[in-house]
């Protein structure tokens, strides 16, 4: 198709008297077919693409849109509907209005899950993200820095359930940690997995063990993408160490920090596997998070309506947190 518009002057022909006539609507094609040339703002293709082109673009997008609608929106609408019903997974759901939300919000167990989820969000921001940053910055620029990062990265290859099983061996009463403490004369160690909120904290530590490495990897990529010149200039101005990091490196890492923090917020809000493997949310419901409460309400207690209400709540919180955070970060980036 493009050849039609690119052939303007036959090789060896005399200089044409007038510029070639380009048919209406073909300008964009010319632009794309032209040899690479940095576009200037003056010649930005401003005209709207032809209607048939737009329709064919929609045609190409349609399958993807259908998949998303089928796999994401339909289940979400169905879950929202279930949250307004009394349903045990058999027969037909029975509409009960907002009763399930009321039940959810007045349940002490739910409020406890909410608190634990907050612990997880804050804990995950401080530990795996913070530690990841520290590892990346400390290892960056060192000889063989890869080998320093590798041990932190390896646990990421293990599934969350396996991480939970490993840490259960370590943290159970009389487990590896208690034995190790015994060598130092600690005879009455804390009951790591039994007392709340300690059990949530140690599980966040387990998640840190798994997650810090990949954050370090992401931050390293961020560090590598920082242009050398400003840093060099700052160094010439006498900046080094902490000042260098605070005033130069950290601000320039912002785009990556945004991604890492965003992922971490979403990941911690839906934290499930490590907790399920280590305490199943117990003892009682003391270490449950919203994701566990959702699962237990639905599949263990067969209260699909209540589980769906928790799911809707969790979705709203997750989406709201992500949107608010990303919007703030990205608008901040635009301003700067």
């Amino acid at each position: 198709m493009p050849h039609r518009t690119t052939v303007t002057t036959p090789p060896g022909a005399a200089e044409p008297a007038a510029p070639p006539v380009v048919p209406e609507g073909e300008t964009t094609m010319t632009a794309t077919a032209a040899p690479p040339r940095p576009p200037t703002s003056a010649e930005r293709p401003a005209r709207r693409p032809r209607a048939t082109y737009r329709w064919s673009a929609r045609g190409f997008a349609l399958p993807a849109v259908l998949v998303v609608a089928l796999l994401l929106y339909v289940p979400f609408v169905w879950t929202s509907y279930l949250s307004l019903t009394e349903y045990n997974g058999l027969g037909d759901p029975e509409l009960v209005g907002l009763a399930k939300y009321q039940e959810m919000l007045t349940d002490a167990g739910f409020l406890n899950s909410l608190l634990n989820t907050v612990f997880w969000v804050v804990g995950t921001l401080v530990l795996p993200v913070g530690l990841g940053l520290v590892i990346a910055v400390l290892a960056y620029g060192l000889k063989a820095s890869f080998w320093y990062r590798l041990p932190f990265l390896l646990p990421y290859a293990i599934s969350g359930v396996a991480v939970g099983v490993i840490w259960t061996f370590v943290l159970q009463t009389g487990g590896a940690l208690d034995e190790a403490l015994g060598l130092f004369g600690v005879t009455d160690p804390p009951r790591w997995l039994l007392d709340a909120p300690l059990n949530t904290f140690v599980m966040i530590a387990a998640a840190t063990w798994q997650g810090a490495g990949v954050n370090a990897l992401l931050f390293t990529i961020g560090l590598q993408s920082i242009p050398k010149e400003p840093l060099e200039a700052a160094r010439l101005d006498g900046a080094s160490g902490w000042t260098m990091f605070r005033t130069m490196t950290w601000p320039m890492l912002t785009p990556l920090t945004t991604v890492v923090v965003g992922l971490s917020i979403v990941g911690s809000l839906k934290q499930f596997d490590i907790i399920w493997a280590m305490t199943k949310g117990g003892p009682g419901v003391s270490s449950e998070t919203l994701a566990l409460t959702m699962y237990k309400d639905t599949f263990v207690e067969n209260d699909y309506g209540l589980g769906a209400a928790v799911a809707v709540f969790l979705t709203v919180v997750t989406v709201a947190a992500s949107v608010l955070y990303l919007r703030r970060q990205l608008s901040g980036a635009r301003e700067s």
């Binding site: 997974g89 997995l193 039994l194 117990g282 003892p283 009682g284 263990v300 067969n302």
Partner: protein, 421 residues
């Protein structure tokens, strides 16, 4: 352009794949058709029991139907799979389930085939003990047949008892005296755990202290705030505070703890025998079994019986063949094979189990003076049981003041019984 085409193609392919996956429910499975010799689609959450079901196939395969085994090891995933399968055309021919409110749910929806005739025949032939039928009766009709039974009793480590010169207790008082002695000599007397089986000591103590109250809780006729219940919680708390139990933070299996003598006694269903065999402990040599003595001797002997149903999906492809198989399941021939393959007791009174400790227990508890009680988990309304896992789990772990927990349980029970009308 080319890239877009590839992308569009890939999207279309994934869509097609998804649709194919959705519609593939209609083919495969079952087969065989009605009548004798059918291959019955059989689903269970007892994946580890596959060898025993294979053994059953060898006996029934000659002239009857055989099971096509699909085993789950995660019972939550299994439960939701079974529920979902009732929404499709692929209703399972045979599947294992739970008695109590879980079975009631299926019966309410008309999803399981009635087995009243099978039970009438089995009782006439003397294949089932008295009282077992109650677990399978809803509105006067029976559904499903017993897959298995387990009696709840105290397993004890024989070496620990011998080393500390302790006789097998026959009364609650003797058992407490033994616990005190063991504790004094540095041995943890009892096993308990804060998940899955957190309710069992409540069950044992209450059934032995006040059987009518234990039964009354199941029907809404008794309250968690009744003095008999409070007595039980106080007793239980005392035992925890006195250090009679292992730390619930220990996640080692009960069979291993008992075999190693880390605990001297463990209150469990007779399914523990199989688990003890798996870790190399020998019945009669390494461990023995005695019935849980009643906390209040005036209550008489009480034993908790747990039973799991084998159900026929109503409207399943091989429904009649599956019902015939269920009838065969209760016969002496089938139960002898089952009992010897599992090394476990059978509900069929004509079948003796080879393990002398188990046989002694069964003889004792089926001898006539013992009242058979249902297990707390199945006997109580699901919302109350669910809350109890939280309350008792916390109680086992922290032994708090029992009253707030009992109050919450009673509130939940009040709500439930009010809804039932």
């Amino acid at each position: 352009m080319k890239r877009t085409r590839i992308l569009a193609g890939a999207t279309a392919a994934s869509l097609a794949l998804g649709l194919a996956a959705c519609s593939s429910g209609d083919d495969g499975g079952g087969g065989g058709g009605d009548g004798d010799g059918a291959a019955l689609g059989f689903y269970t959450d007892k994946a580890a029991w596959e060898p025993s079901f294979d053994a059953m196939n060898e006996v029934s395969g000659a002239d009857g139907s055989t099971l096509e085994f699909t085993g789950y090891s995660d019972s939550t995933a299994y439960d939701s799979f079974i529920k979902q399968s009732f929404r499709t055309k692929q209703v399972p021919d045979l599947f294992t389930w739970h008695t109590g409110s879980s079975l009631a749910e299926l019966v309410d929806q008309g999803l399981v085939a009635e087995t009243t005739d099978l039970w009438t025949q089995a009782e006439a032939d003397g294949l089932v003990p008295e009282g077992l039928k109650d677990n399978y009766t809803y509105d006067g009709k029976q559904y499903c047949v017993p897959l298995n039974v387990a009696y709840w009793a105290v397993y004890y480590n024989k070496k620990v008892f011998a080393d500390h010169d302790i006789e097998v207790p026959t009364t609650f008082e003797e058992m407490m005296a033994a616990a005190e002695k063991l504790k004094g000599e540095g041995v943890t007397p009892f096993h308990q755990m804060n998940i899955i089986f957190e309710f069992v000591w409540f069950q044992a103590l209450l059934a032995g202290n006040a059987p009518e109250t234990y039964e009354g809780l199941q029907t809404g006729d008794a309250s968690y705030l009744d003095p008999e219940v409070v007595e039980v919680m106080d007793q239980w708390k005392q035992m925890i505070d006195d250090g009679y139990y292992n730390d619930p933070g220990v996640t080692t299996d009960p069979q291993t703890l008992l075999k190693n003598g880390d605990v001297a006694m463990a209150y469990f269903g007779t399914f523990l025998t199989g688990q003890l065999t798996d870790v190399g402990a020998k019945s009669g040599e390494d461990y023995g079994i005695f019935p849980m003595p009643s906390m209040n001797p005036a209550s008489g002997d009480q034993t908790v019986l747990e039973t799991g149903p084998l159900c026929v999906g109503k409207g399943s492809e091989n429904e009649q063949a599956a019902l015939d198989y269920s009838a065969w399941w209760m016969t002496d021939e089938a139960q002898k094979t089952w009992s010897s393959s599992r090394g476990d007791v059978s509900f069929n009174p004509n079948v003796t189990v080879e393990d002398p400790e188990l046989q002694k227990l069964v003889d004792g508890v089926t001898g006539g003076d013992t009242t058979i009680q249902q297990r707390y988990l199945e006997a109580n309304p699901l919302p109350v049981y669910t809350l109890s896992t939280e309350i008792f789990g916390d109680f086992v772990t922290n032994a708090p003041d029992p009253m707030p927990g009992l109050q919450r349980l009673q509130d939940e029970a009040d709500t439930y019984w009010a809804e039932q009308g």
